[in-house]
């Protein structure tokens, strides 16, 4: 990893397994579509990478509306992985995405281990896909999804199958809805994962008291946003100490300061999710804040900050 000298300004470049990102800021899955949707609002080339909306083999229509509801400092969503399917993505969107200087990471979904493997194989053969994020943690589908992410054995099976099906960096995305995240981090490492995304949304429920029905048509949903940040930072810290592979921190990042918490906790890179909806240009602000911080603290690069938390015990 070419860590520039402070003179040349701190380096934001990071390595995620075989993948090198020009900066550690990624747009999280499900919050930036297939990238092209936001290309006119934010310059994709300023991002280290974008993670696509979850993709199965076939197209899916997702849940009924309402699909999103705001909660205190949070967003509860049950989209249900509406998507065009991996083939349409490869044929229609990927070519447009390649015009931008940013890493393209496909968020892989499946109802069976075989589907995960097949989607991964198709994505891997397409030119312009840089890595696979394995979504074993979506709380908003009735089959698959989170079921794979709360059982260490199933987690291992899915990751191992994808590992066999692809030579791209494999990045399982963990569910926070577990007692001990380190168990799942280790299962992923043993199954051959190159990195770990930490974390997906927390299972929540919001109720409309007048109708006595859930506010979301699906019922429960996944909680994201600043509300969950302290929990996501804690899990990132736990996971980073449990495994050797890099951790991508995710959860409630709304400023450079928030991102710094994840790096210090042990993240090698971070993803911004919910805040894409209200602050599409937040990346420039975060990048500026990181450079300023690294300069003030005389660090050669962001990689030198990862895992520097001074924990009391």
């Amino acid at each position: 990893m070419s860590a520039k000298s402070p003179a040349a300004g701190p380096s934001l470049q990071v390595r995620i397994g075989a993948l090198t990102l020009k900066n550690p800021l990624l747009a999280a899955s499900g919050t930036c579509g297939y990238g092209v949707e936001i290309a006119h609002v934010v310059d994709l080339s300023t991002l280290g990478g974008i993670v696509t909306k979850g993709l199965y083999l076939a197209a899916r229509d997702g849940c009924e509306v309402p699909r999103i509801v705001e909660t205190p400092a949070g967003l509860l969503n049950a989209i249900g992985l509406q998507g065009v399917g991996i083939r349409v993505f490869v044929d229609k969107f990927l070519p447009q995405l390649r015009a931008y200087d940013t890493a393209v990471i496909v968020n892989v979904c499946g109802e069976t281990v075989e589907e995960y493997a097949e989607v991964s194989r198709i994505a891997s053969e397409a030119p312009g896909v840089h890595a696979l994020e394995i979504n074993i943690s979506c709380p908003n589908v009735k089959t698959g999804g989170i079921a794979f992410g709360i059982d260490p054995v199933m987690t291992h099976d899915v990751v191992a199958a994808v590992r066999r099906a692809s030579s791209l960096p494999v990045i399982p995305k963990l569910s926070p809805n577990v007692t001990d995240i380190t168990v799942f981090a280790r299962a992923c490492e043993e199954a051959g994962a190159d990195a770990i995304s930490c974390v997906n949304t927390f299972l929540g429920l919001a109720i409309d008291v007048e109708s006595k029905k859930p506010k979301l048509a699906f019922g429960t949903g996944g909680l994201s946003g600043p509300a969950i940040r302290p929990l996501a930072v804690r899990m990132t810290w736990q996971a980073a100490r449990a495994v050797k592979i890099p951790i991508i921190g995710i959860g409630g990042i709304a400023s450079a300061n928030d991102a710094l918490e994840f790096f210090i906790a042990g993240a090698a890179a971070v993803q911004v999710g919910t805040l894409n909806f209200s602050r599409p240009n937040i990346y420039a602000e975060i990048e500026g804040g990181l450079v300023d911080y690294l300069t003030r603290h005389e660090l050669s690069g962001i990689h030198a900050l990862s895992g520097t938390l001074q924990y009391p015990r």
């Binding site: 609002v41 509306v65 309402p66 999103i68 400092a73 967003l75 894409n276 602050r279």
Partner: protein
């Protein structure tokens, strides 16, 4: 929730002209509030300054939140009611109904708002010689202010049906009169204009209409659905502006999907109203509660 298709499928004429100027590119801007006018109760007119946004097309909207940090995460969508490309200003008509609209409602002149826009596909222009009928209610009447001003020659043949529950629910009358838009008012309780729904006067007007007509509806769902039904029965082209709950405005959150069935498709698909709409050909719309009796 079971969803049924439209009652009758007449021959579907392509009602959206191929080339519709999409308007200026959307971007996230910080705009100062230069004028705030209360229309009484929870209603207000907010005029912001921004060159590009002042180029917005009729029916487009923007995602807006105060620049000052607050306790809400998402912005809220508001239609561009009118623009002044010369002075570089645009106005929204706002009804405070909850926390998000309230934060915008509470903005004071001189304060800034974050405005992501202009967004969405607006109304398509009528064809030469078509008689244009507009049906508006609630905040839905807002975009017709701009729409009626920018209409090509056919303008004279335009008529607006503006309805609400009661007289107090027609706060925009003054603004619309100032733009001297031919109007027929109606209220459910008869406290202003004709008694009953907008569809009443609309129907009688249609029956008196010789030649081609075109409908545009924007307002409460039930009203738009009723107008769509009238259009379907008479095979009159009709556009409706839907307003599902929106999270991002740019097609990424998929929170705003509506069921749309394009010609030749086996069934309806969930499509984001923020990018494929908010204005849709009413014949493509599968209404959540099926057809009203």
């Amino acid at each position: 929730q079971g969803t049924r298709g439209p009652a009758r499928r007449g021959k579907i004429r392509g009602t959206r002209p191929e080339v519709t100027d999409p308007g200026p590119a959307a971007a996230d801007r910080v705009c100062p509030l230069v004028r705030r006018e209360s229309l009484g109760g929870a209603y207000a007119l907010l005029t912001f300054e921004h060159r590009e946004l002042a180029q917005a097309k009729a029916g487009q909207f923007a995602m807006i939140q105060p620049e000052a940090p607050g306790d809400l995460i998402l912005r809220r969508p508001f239609s561009i009611m009118d623009t002044d490309p010369v002075s570089g200003r645009f106005t929204i008509f706002l009804k405070a109904v909850g926390p998000g609209s309230r934060t915008v409602f509470d903005l004071r002149e001189g304060e800034n708002a974050r405005v992501l826009g202009p967004l969405g596909r607006g109304f398509s222009p009528p064809r030469e010689g078509e008689r244009v009928f507009l049906a508006g209610g609630g905040y839905g009447v807002a975009p017709f202010a701009l729409f009626s001003r920018v209409l090509p020659p056919g303008r004279a043949a335009l008529h607006l049906f503006y309805g609400g529950r009661s007289a107090v629910d027609l706060p925009l009358i003054g603004e619309l009169e100032r733009r001297d838009i031919p109007m027929t008012l109606s209220t459910d309780d008869g406290s202003r204009g004709e008694k009953g729904r907008v569809t009443g006067p609309l129907l009688s007007a249609l029956s008196e209409t010789a030649g081609n007509a075109r409908l545009y509806a924007c307002g409460p769902g039930a009203m738009m659905q009723a107008v769509a039904r009238i259009a379907a029965e008479r095979e009159i082209p009709c556009e409706v502006s839907l307003d599902p709950w929106m999270g991002c405005g740019v097609g990424t959150c998929l929170g705003c999907v509506v069921k749309i069935q394009e010609p030749g498709e086996a069934g309806p698909k969930n499509r984001p109203a923020c990018t494929e709409g908010p204005v849709f050909d009413s014949r493509r719309v599968i209404w959540p509660h099926g057809d009203p009796a």
